[in-house]
């Protein structure tokens, strides 16, 4: 019977069902009138009785904390075998017990997990003996051990389920929070925007934003809500929504005035001493200018022909504290090639294992190293340096970084060419403009020009087409070159088959295709009834 009970216990998944089964089987084994299990109520320490008696089997009958023999056994963790429990002054009969049970002999045993008491088990009134024997004491203790192990397992299961639910909720919260952030990479006209966002936990109080304000102006910035976790995340959601709803005002008012207006709205909404630090910029590409307003975050960096330096700007207090603060902004030139870098204190204050902060030198070193890097490579380069710096160290804070670059106007997007050797020079001139725009180094520029020339030379030799359309765009940190024609094209499979590794032996051909395969990060050869397309992609980051 014990083996049967143990098997049932090991497979039990529901506590109520399990307790009912234990009580039923233990009453049979103990050969007694009633069996009960008393488990503590986590809220107040009372013992809640579950019994084989239907009248008290509803879970409503309680023994107050420390009361009765059960309460004593729960505390002392010692078995009590009472021959006449009804006369024992320690005996406690709950007033809510309407069962009419007259208690004579009672055996009370603790349910122990090592030194911890999980509850109490009782057997009342043996059926064929006046008292419970020593053998009964051993039996109830054996039952008690089995029950304790099972209760522990169920407790662990419940905890695991709770943890999984919490993790799921946090994951959902993280996704919801991300939905308040715009794309980390964007280009608005001649302005490139690139962000790095690293919350310290699932959700955080940092954020970044960018909005087209109107009249060609662009509002961008980073923010840091004081505190961490869900409360900070909720304030972050409120702030980003408020900023989005007010962004259009930047088109017609100075940034300082706009920040004052935002502050007034936040002061009415923030509670419990919370506040928000924000560094905001309004870029006006048509006037080659940028307005800066800093409120509680590290001074932004700007880069011009002289390299990276701290922006000259007046500091302001964080937002959400006092509606009477007048925020002041400053205006600077931002010519072609100019850059602004705004970031939260989590970037500067992260510590490595030696206790050094990123701002102690590593940040300046990363900026110097990336001085001539292309727009797309700067943020990823700093992020790599920052993450490498803090390897194995616990990040202390959320960290956010946002770069804006006022790029030169893009070269012409497309050109039409005759498919004849004399026209290849024009195609190379077109590609030269794009490699310069993407700031590839000299060697890579030459190779990209060579790779495109190889494709077009092959068109001249093999495609039997009169013209080709050559187009290019710089997007998501890549230079994408597209060649379309109406001659004989090839597929990706044919491209792979035709690529020939250089040798001095006899070759069918394909040296040009080999060069193309070596130069570009991605190639795509498509042919169809409407014409053929070749796409050549080179990552800008790979060039730095």
């Amino acid at each position: 019977m014990l083996i049967d009970v143990a098997r049932r216990l090991s497979s039990a998944g529901d506590l109520d069902e399990l307790v009912d089964h234990i009580l039923k089987r233990s009453r049979e084994v103990m050969d007694c009138e009633v069996c009960s299990i008393l488990l503590p109520d986590a809220a107040n320490g009372d013992l809640i009785i579950r019994s084989t008696l239907d009248a008290v089997g509803s879970g409503q009958v309680r023994v107050p904390k420390g009361k009765g023999i059960a309460g004593e056994v729960y505390v002392t963790k010692q078995l009590v075998n009472s021959q006449d429990a009804g006369s024992d002054p320690r005996h406690f009969k709950p007033s809510s017990d309407k069962s009419g049970l007259v208690t004579r002999a009672m055996l009370t045993a603790p349910l122990l997990d090592g030194g911890r008491c999980l509850g109490v088990m009782q057997a009342i009134n043996p059926q064929h003996e006046p008292f419970f024997s020593e053998q009964d004491e051993e039996m109830i203790q054996t039952f008690g051990s089995l029950i304790a192990v099972t209760l522990m397992r169920l407790d662990a299961q419940r905890k695991a389920i709770r943890d999984a639910e919490v993790r799921q909720e946090m994951s959902l919260a993280r996704e919801i929070q991300k939905s308040f952030l715009p794309s980390p990479s964007a280009r608005i006209g001649s302005v490139g925007i690139e962000a790095f966002y690293h919350p310290a936990s699932d959700v955080g109080g940092d954020f970044y934003f960018w909005h087209e304000a109107g009249d060609g102006k662009i509002l961008v910035g980073v923010g840091d809500v004081c505190g961490k976790g869900l409360p900070a995340a909720l304030d972050m959601a409120r702030s980003t929504t408020l900023i989005a709803s007010m962004a259009h005002l930047c088109a017609t008012m100075p940034l300082g005035g706009w920040m004052s207006a935002l502050n007034a709205r936040l002061c009415g909404a923030m509670r419990a001493g919370r506040f928000i630090a924000i560094n905001a910029l309004v870029i006006d590409p048509a006037r080659d200018s940028v307005q800066l307003c800093g409120a509680g975050l590290p001074t932004p960096k700007v880069r011009d022909a002289g390299g990276w330096r701290d922006a000259l700007m007046q500091g302001n207090p964080p937002l959400g504290i006092s509606p009477r603060v007048v925020y002041r902004s400053s205006e600077h030139g931002l010519g072609t090639g100019g850059r602004c870098l705004v970031f939260t204190d989590g970037i500067l204050e992260v510590q490595n294992r030696r206790g050094e902060h990123f701002e102690d030198g590593a940040f300046a070193l990363a900026l110097e190293h990336l001085a001539d890097a292309a727009h797309g490579a700067v943020v990823s380069g700093i992020a790599d340096a920052w993450q490498g710096f803090a390897t194995d160290a616990a990040y202390e804070d959320d960290a956010t970084l946002l770069l804006i670059t006022h790029e030169a106007p893009a070269p012409p997007a497309a050109v039409s060419l005759k498919c004849e050797p004399g026209a290849l020079k024009d195609a190379r001139a077109f590609i030269e403009q794009w490699v310069a725009h993407c700031r590839f180094d000299e060697k890579t520029s030459g190779l990209v020009v060579l790779g495109c020339d190889e494709v077009l030379s092959n068109l001249c030799k093999h495609a039997c087409c009169a013209t080709a359309a050559l187009s290019a765009e710089a997007l998501d940190g890549e230079l994408r070159i597209r060649i379309q024609h109406h001659g004989e094209g090839i597929t990706n499979e044919e491209f792979q088959r035709l690529v020939s590794v250089p040798s001095h032996g006899d070759r069918v051909g394909g040296l040009g295709l080999y060069v193309i395969s070596q130069i570009f990060d991605r190639t795509d050869f498509r042919k169809g009834e409407g014409g053929s397309t070749i796409e050549l992609v080179k990552r800008v980051e790979a060039m730095q």
Binding site: P421, G422, L424, K425, R428, E442, K443, S445, G446, L447, V449, L450, D453, E454, S457, C460, K461, P502, S503, H504, L511, G512, Y514, V515, Q518, I519
Partner: protein, 111 residues
């Protein structure tokens, strides 16, 4: 592209100038064929005044390397710089064709 040929003792120097692309192949091919018939000891292709080279030009070099070595003539290149050197390296011709920094060293056959 401009192609000129001169001789220093028993070495022919084929000097290229400008952008060596598909349009330049016929002139370069003709110059190399002429020198192949002249049966000189060595043919040096001088790229020092070249700003761009693509694989059709390298294919001409390889073709004449194959024919010349059968007839005991040596083929070498000289004056590779910048983008031209990058082009030479990516097609891995250095695996079997000697490249010299200058024409003088190529003529002497000493790096």
């Amino acid at each position: 592209m401009k192609v000129t040929v001169r001789k220093e003792k028993d070495v022919s120097i084929v000097e290229l100038e400008g952008e060596a692309d598909l349009a330049a192949v016929p002139a370069f091919q003709q110059a190399m064929q002429t020198e192949a018939k002249a049966r000189t000891r060595r043919v040096v292709v001088d790229f020092s005044k070249v700003t761009f080279v693509n694989t059709p030009i390298w294919a001409v070099v390889v073709e004449h390397y194959q024919h010349a070595t059968e007839k005991g003539t040596e083929i070498a290149v000289a004056g590779l710089n910048g983008r031209v050197e990058a082009s030479f390296n990516i097609v891995r011709l250095g695996d079997f064709i000697d490249a010299f920094p200058t024409v003088a060293e190529a003529v002497a056959g000493k790096k």
